[in-house]
């Protein structure tokens, strides 16, 4: 499964800065694992519990990692962590190199039956790295899962639809992306945390993966990154007390023909 280290999406706006076409948070803000990736860990661990002999390897691509953060899936119960780490593996909006590295790592691992990923990374909101992996490997993909089940050579996925759900099925190997509707990821227990401490992640560079970063053609070039403009003038409605403010709000909306 894949997991990305990202800026905490709950970072308050006051601690969130855009500088030189990069997003930065105040230095005391720790990164987190992308929330949907924690749910993908949870999905992987549920499969591990249900299917004997399941081995869960976590792949993460980047330039530098906060080890205590990126090890969380191990503390939750994953078996291995491989960091795809190279000075060229920057976190940019362009997913081409990310996909190339993850695909090379999956090939290098060999007998992978299922790739579980988050539905999207909360930094660039691309929602496409898993699709890129599926296309490169020629594997089927099912997106936005709230339930994933492996049965022999088949994966069955309950997908979230805007007004319902869909049950889909594909032959393994396959790619599945997981959404928050899967449910809250488990908390690491003490044993998991201690165990994770002892595991040293494998580190694979671009050379180890057999890829030449400069030969991966980029899809985009960042032109600008800017805070969106806010266009709204807010009118605060006050009253003698909360109830009075509520009544005045009703009158004001009526005046504006909004109700």
């Amino acid at each position: 499964m894949t997991a990305k280290q990202v800026l905490d999406p709950e970072t308050p706006l006051s601690a969130f800065r855009i500088e030189d076409d990069r997003v930065a948070a105040a230095s005391n803000m720790a990164p987190v694992i992308n929330g949907f990736d924690e749910q993908a860990v949870e999905a992987a661990l549920r499969i591990k519990e249900a299917v004997d002999g399941t081995h869960v390897t976590v792949l993460s691509y980047g330039t530098d990692f906060a080890l205590d953060v990126i090890k969380k899936p191990l503390a939750m119960g994953a078996d291995d962590l491989v960091l795809l780490q190279d000075p060229a593996f920057e976190n940019v909006i362009d997913p081409m190199l990310t996909v190339a590295a993850l695909v090379a790592a999956i090939r290098k691992l060999g007998d992978v039956d299922l790739v579980l990923a988050g539905r999207q990374a909360s930094d660039w909101d691309n929602a496409q790295v898993p699709a890129g992996i599926a296309e490169a490997l020629g594997w089927p993909i099912a997106t936005i899962a709230k339930h994933v089940e492996v049965d022999g050579t088949t994966v069955r996925v309950q997908r979230v639809l805007p007004d319902g759900h869909e049950l889909v099925e594909a032959a393994l190997p396959a790619v599945v992306t997981v959404s928050n509707e899967l449910g809250a990821p488990r908390y690491p227990n003490m044993r998991g945390i201690m165990g994770a401490r002892r595991i040293q992640p494998a580190v694979w560079s671009a050379a180890d993966l057999g890829i030449e970063p400069t030969e991966v053609a980029p899809a985009f070039e960042l032109v600008s990154l800017a805070a969106p403009e806010r266009r709204v003038e807010t009118e605060m409605i006050t009253g003698d007390d909360d109830a009075d403010a509520g009544r005045k709000l009703a009158l004001r909306l009526r005046e504006e023909h909004l109700v």
Partner: protein
């Protein structure tokens, strides 16, 4: 005829007609002014939808018909789209970030050797005719503009950001039948069953008034009060992800980046902090009203009207006053 100046829209059919998001993408393609606009329409049969697309601004329709496209399985639609791209030879491929587009567009982009500029809110061409795509990132806290380097460039448009063109039945265009050679083996992710809850009442996407609740409501019961208010205003009830994740309301209520995109006249947010990911789904509402006890809540930055207070005291008085105002009149909301 492949035309390297053309723009190809990856269209979507809903009940036999081009989806609203497809008509918006056609308008966006026309507005770019780069070259002729083609539209792929794929389904069991395309029929009159081709004429609708032409009336709405398409110069050509690439029609792909196959029984395997009946349920719009993403596998089949990606294959159809790739065939349409081969037939049209465009320099820009444009889709929409709909339920189907979310699955189809990234895969199509990678199949064409590039990546997708997804969920764009603005498109332009630079001096060299390359696509400049602007898209919200970091949950809406940063707008990124990228220059697309792929040939073709591939982008998807956020629904509701561009108005469709007025249909003009006198417009003419060519309908090209494309054989995408889709066979059973193409569809590797098979749909076993699809359960759609018939929306009880108004769909959020169609509602002119939405009353949305968040974690600040503290439990499922207060949503009954929101429903009462929504009924009074002829609207629907929505929610933040926090309220859905807590199980207070079904996930189909979720408004936001990974929930529904709504464009009501009036969006009343109760006990919602206004995280950028939530606002991504409702920022195009005509007016947002926020009721929140925290004066520093982000929601007030996007709201036209705000009340700082406890919803449990504000809301009943607000609803009662509205009752009074509306009972004496026949005025409809809006």
């Amino acid at each position: 005829m492949p035309d390297p100046t053309s723009i190809l829209v990856i269209g979507e059919l809903v009940d036999g007609a081009p989806a609203p998001a497809t008509l918006e993408a056609i308008a966006a393609a026309r507005a770019l002014g780069g070259g002729p606009v083609g539209v792929m329409l794929a389904g069991e049969s395309v029929g009159n939808a081709a004429q609708t697309a032409i009336a709405s601004g398409a110069d050509a329709v690439y029609a792909i018909e196959s029984a395997l496209l009946a349920d719009a399985a993403p596998d089949a639609v990606v294959a159809a789209a790739a065939a349409a791209v081969a037939a049209a030879g465009p320099r820009i491929v444009l889709g929409a970030k709909t339920l189907l587009g979310r699955d189809v567009m990234p895969r199509l982009a990678f199949r064409l050797g590039t990546a997708l500029a997804s969920d764009c809110t603005a498109l332009a061409l630079d001096g060299d005719g390359r696509l400049l795509a602007t898209r919200p990132t970091y949950g809406g806290n940063a707008d990124a503009t990228v220059r697309c380097l792929g040939t073709p460039a591939v982008a998807s448009l956020r629904p509701g950001t561009v108005d469709a063109l007025e249909a003009d039945a006198t417009r003419t265009g060519e309908v090209v039948a494309v054989d995408a050679a889709i066979d059973e083996a193409t569809v590797r992710t098979r749909s076993i069953e699809r359960v759609e809850q018939a929306a009880s009442g108004l769909r959020l996407e169609d509602a002119r008034v939405i009353v949305s609740g968040g974690r600040g409501l503290g439990g499922p019961e207060p949503f009954e009060q929101l429903a009462e208010l929504a009924t009074l205003l002829g609207g629907a009830v929505g929610a933040s992800r926090a309220a859905c994740d807590a199980g207070w309301v079904p996930t189909s209520y979720q408004v936001g980046l990974t929930g529904k995109t709504v464009t009501p006249e009036l969006y009343i947010a109760v006990g919602i902090s206004g995280a950028s990911q939530h606002m991504a789904g409702c920022a195009n509402a005509k007016a947002i009203v926020a009721i929140n006890k925290d004066a520093g809540a982000n929601i007030f930055k996007d709201a036209r009207f705000g009340v700082i207070g406890d919803w449990a005291k504000v809301l009943p008085a607000f609803t009662e006053q509205l009752h009074e105002l509306l009972s004496g009149s026949t005025r409809q909301p809006g």
